[in-house]
């Protein structure tokens, strides 16, 4: 009787455990793709889009798991302690991996993160609501000049891509705007739509989602985004600004050169797939192809720029 009872309960325990484990497990042949943020953000969404293409092209499952904490720091600090056999990869974000270690000792360094591919970015954009008096970027600049600090702009996070773009643009246009940091792009967009703020430092992805409800005044790209042929780039308007929130993937530092090359080629192959490109572009993302061989140069250029802007604004020492 007692044995039967215990057997029954053990079975139940195993079932419960199985359910629990599925939340954090990795299967034999699958690849563990760790996102250092919670589910539902743009890092998660772009990884989810890669997920189905990876399975189709390489046969194995790409299992996405999350290790949020400290604005990504918890994940990146753990990266180099993971197995470098190529079965574990981790999402990487710019400017985060440059700014965080420059603020304080957060358990990882920018150079210690071995990014092997930067596959896309969400270009910075100034967004206003559809019935805003600002028709052009110049309207916003004129208004900001007439009332220093009075133009209030929402954005996602402090010392973030949005914040650095605001600092940089204020300097270029010789204006002074007030930046209000929100928790994530969703909250910052809600503040814009509810007209709690005058304009938003957002991304092209906001324009893609919000459609006719908003107007983008300019986007920080080399050429216009295919989804928004009518929105000028900052460059066209005379401001040399190209950038946004970059997303890439890294391997633990113990990974062999061969593993790095294999992975760089795999992500490049997914990036080249027209169906993948179309999904990403419709989401407002801009594709990028910085593979392992070009990474050092790209990172050097970005790091110098971020640190200079952040230092000038007093965000880091």
């Amino acid at each position: 009787m007692l044995i039967k009872k215990i057997a029954k309960h053990t079975a139940m325990l195993t079932m419960a455990a199985a359910v629990s484990m599925s939340a954090s497990s990795t299967y034999a042949d699958s690849v563990n793709y760790i996102i250092p943020f919670g589910p539902g953000g743009e890092s998660d969404i772009s990884a989810r889009i890669q997920q189905s293409f990876y399975k189709e092209k390489f046969g194995d499952d790409l299992v996405i798991s999350y290790k949020p904490g400290g604005g990504g720091a918890a994940g990146w600090a753990s990266l180099n302690g993971l197995n470098g056999d190529g079965q574990t990869i981790m999402g990487v974000n710019l400017p985060h991996i440059v700014i965080k270690p420059a603020q304080k000792d957060v358990g990882f360094t920018t150079d210690g993160i071995h990014t092997f591919y930067m596959f896309h970015y969400t270009p910075d954009a100034i967004v206003v609501v559809a019935d805003s008096p600002y028709q052009t970027l110049q309207d916003l600049i004129d208004d900001a000049k007439s009332k220093p600090g009075g133009v209030v702009m929402s954005g996602s996070g402090k010392a973030s891509a949005n914040n650095l773009a605001q600092i940089k643009f204020d300097k270029m246009a010789d204006i002074n705007t007030t930046y209000v940091s929100f928790k994530g792009t969703g909250a910052s967009t809600a503040a814009l739509l509810g007209e709690q703020v005058t304009a938003q430092w957002g991304y092209t992805s906001v324009g893609a989602k919000q459609g006719k409800a908003v107007r983008m005044l300019a986007v920080a790209m080399e050429a216009r985004h295919p989804l928004f042929p009518d929105v000028p780039t900052f460059k066209e308007l005379g401001y040399d600004m190209v950038g946004g929130a970059y997303r890439g993937i890294a391997l633990p530092s113990s990974a062999s050169a061969e593993t790095v090359t294999t992975w760089s080629n795999r992500i490049g192959e997914i990036n080249a797939d027209p169906a993948f490109r179309k999904k990403m572009i419709n989401g407002g993302f801009a594709l990028l192809d910085i593979d392992a061989s070009q990474m050092a140069e790209f990172m050097k250029e970005r790091t110098t720029e971020y640190l200079m802007d952040a230092r000038a604004a007093g965000l880091i020492k």
Partner: protein
């Protein structure tokens, strides 16, 4: 929204998916640590191969099931399975202690279904106008809403207000540890890399609520829960009678849940707490909240399931996730190639309406499924010998805490907080004010900093904090809920004295 969409939701596949979703959601949600967000995120890949409306029905059903499932652990183990069920513990666990756990579980089921239906009907008929409510809520309103939530500490800790306030303050300080969400400062880590991630709310909650119960289970010989009725028989009829006799509470709490669900940045935990406060504030003299009052369970459980439909309103109308699981669901739609945002209703109306009917059907299915699983959950907890129950639950708390952020240090923190929670409970401290501070602290801080920045930029700080009509209404509610009980007890005292 025509009849065709309703029929489309009724296809065998969509029905099967709704049923599977509710079962899976309820099971996952019942395990402490596995939240609704986690339940949805884990099962998202299954939805990729489905048609968009079927995928949505699956995820919506998992979500609503998980919110309900959170009630089991809250009632039977004093541990909220999801943050939404915090206030369920206040009366659910005392009721279970008195031997009426099955009644509490059944009441939770009826209330959840009712609340879920109210939320889903609001989504069906009132989505566009209600979405504008989400936008009217600015930073300063979030600040005042969280202050209103914190005022619950006063009513939670009657008799020892100072202890309650101390706990709330401790929770708020704990919430500032680590990287600050909107200012990016790194605070109170004392040089430790582990503390950069800060306290994880769900893990802390498991520690503070569940571990003391486990320790107490070990320290006494008696059974974990008393059994009064027949274990094999669920008191369905009396549960239904109790639930639907509280019509007013049920409807008010469901409306609160729907409205709070609409606000991105609030969520099920806040909805449950606000509804509980209101139920307690309007209690009749014979009702004893905190000692197993069914109205406490009814308020929380109807409100938190109403947030599901409410949360889908900004998600589907504006493309702005109302709650964290909504963010995951929006992401799944993007992977499907469906354009989300304001154009979703126009360009993909049939997907949206089929989904809303699917959500309604899933909510109705939750009644039989919830009662069956609920009975099994109750039966297992009361009949399993303690020698098996304690390690099982202990194991689940560890796995659950680990799974939230794949972090071992979260488990260590959870265990330490557990021992701490057990110690303070021996001195009459309650864990709830700490958890309230932990949850509401960041909302208050962010709202305050943002409102101050904007107010200073437009040179009108007083107008920003006190001049907006919505804020004034919330401030008025807060004052009423703080002053009224004090005034009433004063009046009673004077009567006694004279």
């Amino acid at each position: 929204m025509d009849f065709g969409n309703f029929l489309a939701a009724l296809t065998p596949l969509n029905l099967a998916v709704a049923m599977f979703g509710v079962v899976a959601g309820t099971l996952i949600g019942s395990i402490p640590g596995l939240t609704a967000t986690m339940a949805v995120a884990v099962l998202v890949p299954i939805s990729f191969s489905m048609a968009p409306e079927t995928a949505l029905i699956l995820l919506g059903a998992i979500y609503t099931g998980a919110i309900y499932g959170g009630a089991y652990a809250a009632i039977l183990l004093n541990t909220p399975g999801t943050p939404s069920a915090i206030a369920t513990t206040f009366d659910g666990y005392p009721l279970a202690k008195r031997g009426k756990g099955d009644l509490a579980v059944a009441i939770a089921c009826f209330s959840s279904v009712f609340g879920g239906l109210v939320g889903a009907f609001a989504l069906l008929f009132l989505a566009p106008p209600l979405a504008s409510v989400a936008l009217a809520f600015g930073p300063v309103e979030y600040f005042w809403l969280s202050i209103f939530g914190l005022s619950l500490i006063a009513s939670l800790s009657e008799g020892n207000l100072m202890m309650g306030l101390a706990g709330g303050a401790l929770g708020m300080i704990m919430s500032t540890v680590g990287v600050a969400e909107i200012s990016a400062d790194i605070r109170l880590t004392f040089g430790s890399h582990t503390m950069i991630s800060g306290f994880e709310v769900v893990g802390a909650m498991i520690g503070l609520y569940c571990i003391p119960v486990l320790i107490d289970m070990c320290s006494t010989g008696e059974k974990h829960l008393k059994i009064t009725g027949d274990v094999a028989k669920m008191p369905i009829l009396s549960a239904a009678r109790i639930t639907f006799n509280s019509k007013f509470n049920l409807i008010r709490s469901s409306i609160i849940g729907t409205l709070v669900g609409i606000l991105p940045g609030a969520g099920g935990s806040v909805a449950g707490l606000v509804a509980y406060t209101e139920a307690k504030r309007t209690a009749k003299p014979h009702q004893r909240f905190g000692e197993g009052e069914p109205d406490g369970i009814i308020a929380t459980e109807s409100a938190n399931n109403a947030t599901v439909g409410g949360g889908f309103i900004p998600t589907l109308v504006l493309g702005i996730p109302g709650t964290p699981p909504d963010a995951v669901i929006l992401g799944a739609l993007m992977v499907q190639g469906v354009r989300t945002g304001p154009e979703l209703f126009q360009s993909n109306g049939s997907i949206v309406y089929t989904f809303i009917y699917g959500l309604l059907i899933a909510t109705v299915l939750m009644l039989p499924i919830g009662l069956i699983i609920g009975r099994y959950a109750y039966k297992s907890i009361v009949t399993i010998p303690k020698a098996v129950l304690v390690p099982t639950v202990g194991f689940m708390t560890i796995i659950g805490t680990y799974a939230i952020r794949n972090s071992i240090s979260d488990v260590v923190v959870m265990l330490c907080l557990g021992v701490f929670g057990w110690l303070i409970s021996k001195y009459g401290f309650s864990a709830s004010p700490i958890v309230l501070g932990l949850i509401l602290g960041p909302i208050a801080e962010q709202g305050f900093v943002q409102a101050w920045t904007i107010g200073a930029a437009v040179n009108n700080l007083p107008g920003m904090f006190f001049g907006r009509p919505l804020s004034q209404a919330i401030i008025a509610f807060t004052l009423i809920s703080l002053i009224l009980p004090w005034y009433l007890s004063r009046k009673k005292q004077i009567k006694v004295d004279t």
